[in-house]
């Protein structure tokens, strides 16, 4: 005898349990990033000598990186809208642009890190900026490195979604995985907005 059981709906996200699961993950991740930023603030506030970030860090380059991530968030949400409307070519195009934006961001961050690590900085008493040479360097590389790992994970994640999408797995009736991936990507963008402000501008 076959007994059919109805799958219970997620109480907060009727579309899928996966969406609720992603939200729970992001809330925990927000605590991780928030703790790092709070720790950065506490160390900086209590420090007698803290370089002016803009005298060491490249704000114009990072501003462009911020713009890049914002654009990739827009293309991500456009990709989701496209698959909801059943427009598979537009979905693939926008998602590919999102992946490209994330990859470019990582490349620029690698470029930025290389220059920070290999060059001597007058604001750091002629020292290079590494994890061990100064507290400023430690906090900077931990924060941006942790975020960079999230971006890398997001690029891989979205690439898998793109491949699945190109194979026709998603449709207007079945687009939850795209929405869930989009939530992660927007979170990565949101965190960068905060990091850019607190680490680079203030």
């Amino acid at each position: 005898m076959i007994v059919e059981t109805e799958r219970a709906e997620s109480p907060l996200t009727p579309e899928s349990w996966g969406k609720l699961g992603m939200w729970m993950f992001l809330i925990g991740d927000a605590m991780s990033f928030g703790s790092l930023i709070a720790g950065y603030g506490a160390l900086r506030f209590g420090s007698a000598e803290w370089p002016v970030p803009s005298s060491v860090l490249g704000v114009p380059l990072t501003a462009f990186m911020t713009f890049l991530l914002i654009c990739s968030s827009v293309t991500m949400v456009k990709a989701l809208a496209a698959i909801k409307d059943g427009n598979r070519p537009a979905f693939a195009r926008f998602l590919a642009l999102t992946v490209l934006g994330g990859a470019l961001f990582l490349g620029l961050q690698a470029y930025e890190w290389t220059h920070l690590i290999t060059e001597e900085h007058a604001a750091l008493n002629g020292m290079r900026m590494t994890v061990t040479t100064s507290l400023f360097g430690t906090t900077f590389f931990v924060l941006t490195g942790f975020h960079g790992c999230h971006v890398l994970g997001g690029v891989i994640y979205l690439s898998c979604i793109l491949v699945a999408g190109l194979r026709g797995r998603y449709s207007p009736a079945s687009h939850n995985p795209v929405e869930i991936a989009g939530l992660y990507w927007h979170f990565v963008d949101l965190v960068w907005i905060l990091i850019f402000t607190f680490v680079y501008l203030i």
Binding site: S35, V59, K84, F198
Partner: protein, 126 residues
């Protein structure tokens, strides 16, 4: 049931004007950068504090726009939005709890600095 729920959710709201949100984000970013550049030329005082508060508010506004419209939090159930907002409360609490430590560090540094100021005079043996 899931399909119906999806259709219901999809019909519950049209797509927000994503490009309008993008332009707002871009404008706020440009203003932030300008404020950051001004901050370099402003000394300690009310002007500096105002710029810092302005930068924090702009960052919060940008984060809210991304959360509400790109992550569709505005169109989700209110309970989910409240749960998603709990880290903000906890993090504000965390920052407030760290303030005494930071102030103590500053105080200790100031005391150490004033104690070592007459460095030429040798310290007497105990």
């Amino acid at each position: 049931m899931t399909g119906e729920a999806q259709a219901g959710h999809g019909a519950a709201h049209r797509h927000p004007n994503y490009m309008a949100i993008f332009w707002w984000l871009l404008a706020l970013t440009i203003v932030e950068i300008a404020a950051g550049m001004m901050l370099q030329h402003v000394g300690r005082g009310p002007a500096r504090l105002t710029l810092i508060c302005g930068l924090i508010l702009m960052a919060a506004a940008k984060a809210a726009l991304v959360a509400m419209y790109f992550m569709h939090l505005r169109f989700e159930k209110r309970t989910l939005a409240i749960i998603a907002g709990t880290p903000i409360v906890l993090l504000v609490f965390l920052m407030l709890m760290l303030v005494p430590d930071a102030l103590r560090t500053l105080h200790n540094r100031a005391e150490a600095g004033s104690a070592s100021a007459p460095a030429a005079a040798p310290t007497p043996a105990p």
